[in-house]
């Protein structure tokens, strides 16, 4: 995968991950000093824990857009073109508690998003799968 990412001829596009200090790093082994913006201003990107490319990270996520705060559950939010795009549920057994997974929380959160979008709530059997929308 890293070799694929390093292929120079490939052009790629990215969603914008939502991240700020409250999300915390994994593993939790980064000191506030190491994440200090003043210090990082003088360091090259490869030495910084937080990526430096302008616009790569958004500190504002779903909560700021009036949607449920999925980051509060330890999950990850992604934006595209400045608007909420996706949520990645975290909480794998093997990696420690990066986030909590609870089926009801997933359903409640996604239904709140759908309500905001004027869409019907989730079908528990995922009838939307296979269509052109999520």
């Amino acid at each position: 995968m890293q070799a694929f990412a390093a292929e120079p001829a490939l052009t790629s596009g990215l969603l914008t991950p939502v991240f700020s200090a409250r999300d915390g790093y994994q593993p939790a082994a980064v000191t506030p000093l190491q994440d200090n913006p003043l210090l990082n201003a003088f360091l090259p990107d490869r030495w910084c824990y937080r990526p430096k490319r302008p616009g790569y990270i958004s500190p504002a996520g779903f909560r700021e857009a009036g949607l449920p705060d999925f980051r509060g559950l330890g999950w990850e939010e992604f934006l595209w073109r400045g608007a909420p795009f996706a949520v990645h549920v975290r909480g794998e057994l093997q990696r420690g508690p990066a986030g909590g997974v609870e089926d009801d929380a997933v359903g409640r959160g996604l239904d709140a998003v759908l309500r905001r979008l004027g869409q019907p709530p989730l079908d528990p059997l995922g009838a939307a799968v296979g269509g052109g929308s999520a």
């Binding site: 995968m1 990412a5 999300d23 992604f78 795009f85 996706a86 057994l93 420690g96 009838a127 052109g132």
Partner: protein, 256 residues
Amino acid sequence: MHGGDADAQAPARLQPRPDRGPEPRRRPRWIVVDNQDIHLAAAKAAGATEAALRAQTALFQDEPMQACAPGAMVVPGPGLEEVSDAVLAATEASGTPLGERRRLLGKYLGSYHHAAGLNRALERVATRYALVIDPDFYVVRPGWIAEVLAHVRAEDLAAFGAPWNPRWYQKFRYFPCTHFMVLDLAKRPWSPGLLAPDLVRGGRRFASRQWTAYAAARAASARRRWGVCCAIPSAPSPTTSGKGAASAARATPAMP
């Protein structure tokens, strides 16, 4: 995994369409990889009861999976041993001792198993564009497949997707990862190792031991406080803090 029309009986049809014109609109077809092996192994490792394991096994029966993804092609995922053997064979020339490779593989087998499962799906994709998406990655934008594909075409991208969240600072950055990724297989044809991770190799990934210990101690302290708060209505017991400490110990990432 969304690969447009796919045909399980014709794995030779792997070559993507060479032209770059727009494909005719058609209903996308999903390919679902049944990776139950890793989930059941993880549940066993976490000490799940027999009943819990039976319940989890039931989740993976063909019928419910088909019901959750109507019209999808369900592909059996690879076995854990099969993946383990393949990774050890592929890394034999790396110079890293076998014992170290086994240790690393024990830690990252899930990632390799995931990639091997994706390979099984990607080798069945017969369209130019393939969309890889994890089952716990929820896109909340209406009409996103058409919009994303139009963007990939307009920008002439080989790959588009979600990068690793910056909290995972040991991962690569500035490139999509397999949680959510659209691939233009005309620009980068599929090959078996395309999405495989590169984690079984020599060298350590940096993480400060001191700060890790400090963060774990803080988490344990917070859990103890929470445990006492919960116990106040009845009676604080020595086991409350003991449980908190045990949770924190489990939570502490195993550093190389």
